[in-house]
């Protein structure tokens, strides 16, 4: 890695891998997590789909996943990746554990975003004749919009961290890059560059997220 050109190329490649892993698992886990968050919310709401048992079961499962450190979840789930993604190494294999972990995280974030929606507004919508799907799409999502955007920001940054951790088991991406060059080969400067790049990425994500959340907030 003495050649500056090949270093930049390798870093760019690693960043693209990270972007691929994070964006794909983010999209999937936001969709799944929002639905799960809605289930958690709706099963505990007396007007929507009150169901104590369903609520406990979903809640328990989510907590189980959340209680596992990502590195453990990763090695536990990788064999499943072979079935789903056909491989146990590389960015593709990492997507499944990332999705599982991030979905569990996002389901709690979105649940609490839905809880933050004025209950009176939900009651109003019911009184106007709205059904559960309409409550979800026309009340909960838009009213929780700003909070949900902040939740996406938090989840994105968490995913970035998890995806880097996946580098240790051959997952690729910036994490893998930093560890194999910066740590295992004692190239401190490369490590520092990786840290700087990640720091900038996180700042940018946070900045954009905050901006979007503020835009969405009408109150």
């Amino acid at each position: 890695m003495s050649n500056r050109f090949s270093f930049v190329n390798a870093l760019r490649g690693a960043l693209l891998e990270t972007a691929y892993m994070v964006s794909l698992s983010l999209v999937i886990s936001i969709v799944l997590g929002t639905l799960l968050g809605y289930c958690l919310y709706a099963t505990s709401n007396r007007y929507l789909m009150p169901n104590r048992y369903a609520n406990s079961i979903i809640g328990f499962t989510v907590n189980m996943v959340r209680s596992m450190p990502f590195i453990i979840l990763l090695v536990a789930v990788l064999p499943l990746s072979k079935v789903v993604a056909g491989t146990m190494v590389g960015p593709k294999a990492i997507i499944l554990p990332l999705v599982i972990s991030s979905t569990a995280f996002f389901s709690r974030l979105s649940e609490s975003a839905f809880r933050g929606v004025n209950k009176g507004v939900v009651e109003y919508a019911l009184s106007a004749g709205a059904n559960n799907a309409q409550i979800f799409f026309t009340i909960l999502l838009p009213e929780a919009g700003s909070t949900l955007i902040s939740a996406v920001t938090v989840a994105t940054i968490a995913l970035l961290g998890s995806s880097a951790m996946a580098g240790t088991v051959g997952g690729g991406g910036v994490g893998h890059f930093a560890i194999s060059y910066g740590y295992e080969r004692f190239q401190t400067r490369i490590l520092l560059v990786c840290i700087a790049v990640l720091a900038i990425i996180v700042q940018v994500i946070q900045f954009i997220g905050d901006l979007a959340a503020r835009r969405a907030d009408k109150s």
Binding site: V121, A128, G129, G145
Partner: protein, 346 residues
């Protein structure tokens, strides 16, 4: 017409069953303004919400224009709700939508066409005089304006029934007056039935035709508001109304009357007079004081007009010779609805 027959509502909670509405039966006539009053926790909101099926019945029957609400399928229930508007104490506007979008909301739920919605929203904005706020978000509105959006939204589907849960409790008195006037006007012009829950008796006396009084889940009495206000039958209602008219004579005044009359060796009494109907307009007191050799002083008085008929309560002191005083009081008693002695010379 809305009718309740032996309605019971119970809530299962962790601390046991709360029996919120107990065996309530009464009817609300079409195109009337009906008030429900009672203390906090009496079950008023719960009862109101059985009309649009937001609360389920444990037993009994709620019928709206002959349709039994508690037997509707969930699809029929949603259609039933589209025909009933509801407004709330805290307005419950959708914060992420503009005024126009809030008003359009029930129309979208009812799957009305785009062009229809647009003209209807403009109509409604005009009805509640909010044309200049069309594109504002609720956060930018005053309480009174928010409630007007609430009213417009509730009437959007040409609803014939409007349920109001403490619609003015979060508003100042002037705004309350304006909103009540708007509701009254709408009920007359559009022929809608309004059910209004409140703990403010002034709200009831300002716009209702009939009233139901609830206490601890039960309906304690119901009737025209003039009758209930001026001659309450139940103890609970009397107490509730007493707080409205209650006046306690200041200790200094009482002491002064006592001292002055004792010094002059006169007999005295302080009485409370309730006027009702035409009697409230007549110069009962001045006539009585001319006829008898007594001095009559008004300590405190209040006359108000309920449904255009006068009703008043007055605190007066009568002083003079004992027999003259008794004669004066007997004369007064014949001309007012009730007279009650509060204090007298010992």
């Amino acid at each position: 017409m809305i009718s309740f027959r032996n309605v019971d509502v119970k809530f299962e909670t962790d601390k046991g069953v709360v029996h919120a509405v107990r065996n309530v039966s009464f009817t609300i006539e079409k195109e009337s303004v009906f008030g429900v009053i009672g203390a906090s926790g009496a079950g008023k909101s719960t009862l109101l919400r059985t009309i649009n099926g937001l609360e389920k019945l444990a037993s009994g029957e709620v019928a709206v224009d002959g349709n039994i609400v508690n037997r509707l399928s969930s699809r029929q229930l949603r259609e039933h709700r589209e025909r009933i508007g509801m407004i709330f104490q805290h307005f419950n506007l959708i914060a992420s939508r503009t005024v126009a979008q809030n008003i359009a909301y029930p129309l979208k739920i009812a799957e009305k066409g785009r062009a229809f919605i647009e003209t209807r929203v403009d109509e409604l904005l005009k009805l509640v005089d909010l044309e200049d706020k069309k594109h504002a978000y609720p956060a930018k509105l005053s309480g009174g304006q928010k409630q007007r959006v609430g009213i417009a939204r509730a009437l959007a589907n040409h609803t014939k029934i409007l349920l109001c849960d403490e619609p003015t409790s979060a508003l100042d008195s002037e705004t309350t007056r304006v909103i009540l006037q708007l509701l009254r006007q709408l009920s007359q012009e559009l022929g809608i039935t309004i059910v209004i829950i409140t703990h403010e008796l002034d709200v009831v006396s300002a716009i209702c035709d009939k009233v139901a009084v609830m206490s601890e889940g039960r309906l304690v009495e119901t009737g025209s508001i003039y009758d209930v206000f001026t001659s309450p039958r139940e103890e609970y209602t009397k107490k509730l109304l007493d707080t409205r008219y209650d006046f306690s004579i200041p200790e200094e005044i009482l002491e002064k009357i006592r001292r002055v009359n004792t010094e002059q060796g006169r007999y005295w009494k302080i009485v409370r007079l309730d006027y009702i109907g035409e009697g409230a307009n007549e110069p009962v007191i001045s006539r009585a004081s001319k006829r008898f050799d007594t001095e009559i002083d008004v300590i405190h008085g209040k006359i108000e007009y309920i449904q255009g008929k006068p009703y008043g309560r007055m605190y007066v002191s009568v002083c003079g010779e004992r027999t003259e005083t008794e004669k004066t009081l007997a004369c007064l008693a014949g001309q007012v609805r009730s007279i009650e002695t509060l204090y007298e010379a010992s």
